[in-house]
Symmetry: C3
Subunit: 159 residues, 3 copies
C-alpha cells in the first residue's frame, strides 16, 4: 500500500484540515437553520398565528390563522435556507472529497457559510434594504456553482 492511497482514503476524515473546516462551518449552519424554527415560533406567539387546531391551547388563542406577514417572512427565509444551505453542504462534501487546493477550499467554505449567516440576519432578523440580501444570496450561489463544476470536471470520466 502506497502513501497516495492512504491520502485519498482519508480525505473525508478528521486528518484532513479541509474536511475539518467543512465540518465546523456545516455544523454552524445547521445550528443557524434550527434557530429559524425558534424564530418562527417566536413570531407565531407574538402574532398568535397558529396553523394546527391542537396547538391553539398551547398558544392561548382560539382559532387557526395563516398568512401573517411576520411569520411568513421567517418561513420564506427558512425555506431559502433549505434551498441553498443543504445543496451547499452536499456539494461541498463532494468538493472536499475531490481533494481541492486546501487554502482555496477552506476560504470558499468559510465565505459561503458566512454569506448565508448574513443572509438570515438581513432577511429574518433585521430586514435591510436590497441589494444586501441579494448580494449574500449570490455569493453563496456562485460558490455552489463553482464547486459543482469543479467536482464535475474532476470526475468527468466516470459520467
Amino acid at each position: 500500500m502506497n502513501n497516495d492511497t492512504v491520502a485519498v482514503a482519508s480525505l473525508l476524515s478528521k486528518s484532513n484540515p479541509v474536511f475539518c473546516c467543512y465540518m465546523f462551518w456545516s455544523s454552524l449552519l445547521i445550528l443557524k437553520m434550527l434557530l429559524m424554527s425558534l424564530l418562527t415560533a417566536r413570531q407565531r406567539m407574538k402574532t398568535k398565528t397558529v396553523a394546527n387546531p391542537e396547538d391553539l391551547r398551547m398558544m392561548r388563542t382560539t382559532e387557526v390563522r395563516f398568512h401573517d406577514q411576520n411569520v411568513e417572512r421567517v418561513r420564506r427565509a427558512h425555506r431559502n435556507d433549505l434551498e441553498n444551505i443543504l445543496p451547499f453542504m452536499l456539494v461541498s462534501l463532494a468538493y472536499v472529497a475531490c481533494g481541492p487546493h486546501a487554502l482555496t477550499a477552506s476560504l470558499l467554505i468559510r465565505i459561503g457559510a458566512a454569506a448565508r449567516l448574513l443572509h438570515t440576519i438581513v432577511y429574518a432578523v433585521i430586514p435591510l434594504p436590497q441589494p444586501i440580501r441579494a448580494i449574500c444570496f449570490f455569493i453563496n450561489f456562485g460558490i455552489v456553482i463553482f464547486e459543482a463544476i469543479y467536482v464535475m470536471i474532476c470526475v468527468a470520466k466516470y459520467i
Copy 2:
C-alpha cells in the same frame, strides 16, 4: 502507516459500527420522508385538491384547489421533516466522522430517529393533542444541537 491513521480513515465506512447504525436509521428516515409524498397524494385524492391543471384528469376533478386543511397538514409535516431530518442526517454524518464514543453516538442516532418517526405519526397520521408533538420535536432538536456543538468543539482549531 500506523494503526491510528487506519482507524481515522475508516470512520465513514462499513467497518465502523456507529456509521452502520447511522446508515440504517438514515435510510429508515428517508423511507419515512418518501411516505409523506404518498400521504399527501392520498389526501389530495380524498379531498380532490389538485394543484396543477394537468393533474385534473388523473384525479377525476375539474378545477385546481388549494388550502385544503387535510392536505396542508400533511404538507406541513413534510416540510417539518425537511427542516429537521435533513439537518439531523448531515450533522450526524459529521458527528460520526469525529469518532465519538460508540455507545453514546448509536443511542443519540436511534433516539433522534425514533423521535422523528413518532413526530410524523402524531402530526400527520393520527393527530394527537400537544405537547406530544412538541416533545418529539425537541428531542430531535436537542440531539442536533448537541451533535453540532460536539463537532464544532472537536474541529475548533480548523475554524
Copy 3:
C-alpha cells in the same frame, strides 16, 4: 493491515468509480436545483409578483403579491426537488458506502438523476400532460426505496 480494510476505507473516495459517478450526478442535480431559484426569479419579474416589501423597488412594482400561478408552479417544482433530490443524494451516499455491485449502482444513480432532470423540464419549463411527470417522479422514488432497503439489509445487524 490487509487489503480488505483498504478497500472498505476508500469506498467514499475518488479511487472508487461508483463514488465518482455519484459525485458527478449529484453535482449536476445541485446545479439543476439552483436553476429553480433563477426560474422563480424570472417568473417573479415577468408577473411582478414580489413577496417582500424591500424587493419592490428592485422589481419596479409597488405592492407585494402572492399566489401567482406561474410563480407557484416553479415553487412547487422546487419544493418537490427538496423532497426528493436531497433524500436521493443522502441515501445514495449510504448506498455507495455499502459497496454495491458497481455497474448496478452506477446505472441506478444515472437513471435516478436523469429522471429528476426530466421531471423539472416537464413540470416547470414546458408543462406536459400527465402521466409523464408522474413516471419521472416514480422512477426516482422507486430507486430511493430500493437503495434505502439495500442499505438497511446491508447494515441490519447494527440496528
